[in-house]
Symmetry: D2
């Protein structure tokens, strides 16, 4: 079994809960309150900004020149098309880019980002590339699982958002990251990668949950 | 006003709550359930391990050779006497060192540590040295605030633990870190340091709270 | 005066010698022995590999999300078109890519690369982006200074190589890096940037010289 | 054979030349011109400053908490006693500490330091701890090889300098670093460590040579 498949299997309990989280279900069937979606877009724009920094660090640690060039492709894609996509959503929702820069990220958003950044800064390339896989991959699985709901979804914004993760380029991107993990996993202890993948999957769940509940700092 | 005093003043609301947190109050008056203290020592040993790594990174970024040599003094102290202190406590509680290495840190412990490590890895020396101040300083303020309770505290372990933070060497250590922050703060935007100090103070509160409630991962 | 112009002026003595170095002059007028050019292409392919790693690190430290996205554009360009260009030259010269990976870089090549990597790893973003400017900019100045020689240059390989640095995309790339330095320079001590720019310019000269003389390690 | 012994054996040709370099021989028999020794002390004080930063980085990457605590011991020793030793020498030679901070390091000094710093910043802990071994170890071998000359050496400064490297604490320090390399080497490709050890040994030779010839930048 490929390393990525084995990781996915070992995180199955958590992924079950990610895929069925109310935020996700309601988004796909169109019943998600718009206030929660607006909160999500603002939070996620902040996440994306740190994600780009994170991919820069991962690129600098890649295990070969070929892997580095593939990570740079992803970094460039994130920096250009993902950003453009989010900026379009911000505009459609009536926000200026500065609004997104001024909001306070949820504690879970901060914890997730600091987990990713301290992994890429201080751990191996294999652990770093593994830490970003649950986010990308689970968005594709969510889309695949809920796609039939979209035909009855009357919220055009939600449908537009979801279609990105069903698109060919996005599916290819996920496959590319899986291949990088499979390759890096060949020469790394599986247990270490599993711990990373499980922790990132937990954060992915907690991230949806914190946004659905619009959690602020407890103090 | 010195930068450190200004930071302390701007975090006053949070520090009020740290100093009066039930974990701390019960520890000083001796009523803290031993199970919670045991949980604390195991969690904190893990925190200490990462804290040493963190001081190594901060040292490598110090703004002058003099600051670097002072950070190395702190690092060495942590690595030798703090460690010895914790290992003694572990033994008194009947743990082996390996037991501490095998426990699962609370999500808050992990979030706090990743905040510190990503700050030292990716932000300025001034922000890095500021991020560690709330932990050291609040232990000294807690001790000062609650010290009168110790005469009636019948739990010798708790008294021994508390006396460390009233000792001359510990008070000197806190003063040394304050001076490093004051010096680094001369040439850095106060607002940036304030954000760092406030976030670290929030984590300090949440850390006590997570241990008092023995919080595990929500998933 | 813009920071980049001031830097260029303060390094004028060194740049004079770079622009008139025999390697460069002979390459543009076509008299450079082919053995030296072959040696150059193999050495420079190694330099390029490290340069990409270096830009990944610089990107992770950029002073704003806008600067980060511009550095990523450069990184992507280097990783795609510069690489393709070099791989074409390697093929034209009868080398396989692996041949380039197997040669021993000159001590000066190693010193230059380690200077760039330790700057980006341990110094500020402003110093890091400044450290890469002399390489890019001097290639454009060299091309501008010697371009009239190309009409009489009968070595098609040399002419092809030179035309890259006269092309619109390359000139735009240099302007982009200058703007990043100008922007980062607004909030940084000029003296620090000057030291970085001068050192990188010295390495640029020494790099040509080491290749012209095909220097190996003295031991 | 232990990894450290194997490395030493594979670098034998280079070490032969280090041990018999005129700077070293003349220093031990007392005929070294004082101007060269003064130049050496100023250069080496600069090297030491960077070496401390380097050990901080290595400490942050140590492969276990035990190794980290050992690296911190070395770092502390360097920061306290090595520094004090050099500052005493500077005073004996009539320099103020600031004089050492103001000199220009030789290109070889800079290249050696950047090699060490980019190794510790970007490569594995095993390669990082290996990169510092040749410096420490060769000083001990030099002292052992030339110690009989000291009885006839009439330059008290040179004798004082040399005795440090024959002292018990210094010999123990070298043994400690060898053990760290042996331990890290258990799980690392020998070829990678060999390349690091050989390169550092070459720089060690070139360092003596650059100081003996008081080399400045060629441009």
């Amino acid at each position: 079994m490929k390393v990525s498949e084995r990781l996915r299997k070992d995180a199955d309990d958590i992924w079950e809960k990610i895929i069925k989280h109310p935020f996700v279900t309601e988004l796909y069937n169109g019943t998600l309150p718009m206030g929660k979606f607006r909160f999500y877009i603002l939070q996620d724009y902040n996440y994306l900004t740190s994600s780009i920094k994170n991919f820069s660090i991962i690129s600098s640690k890649a295990d070969s020149i070929d892997s580095m060039r593939e990570v740079i492709e992803i970094l460039h894609l994130e920096s250009v098309s993902e950003f453009k996509g989010y900026e379009e959503f911000l505009r459609k929702l009536g926000y200026r880019i500065e609004d997104a820069g001024n909001i306070e990220p949820t504690p879970t958003n901060i914890s997730y980002v600091n987990f990713l950044l301290s992994t890429s800064s201080l751990k191996s390339y294999a652990e770093s590339i593994t830490s970003v896989l649950p986010c990308f991959w689970s968005y594709a699985e969510i889309a695949e699982h809920h796609k039939d709901k979209l035909s009855k979804n009357e919220n055009k914004l939600y449908v537009d958002w979801a279609l990105v993760y069903l698109s060919k380029p996005y599916v290819n991107l996920v496959e590319k990251i899986k291949r990088l993990v499979d390759k890096a996993g060949e020469t790394t202890s599986y247990e270490m990668l599993k711990e990373t993948f499980i922790t990132a999957s937990k954060y992915e769940y907690m991230y949806w949950d914190a946004i659905y509940n619009m959690n602020a700092w407890p103090i």
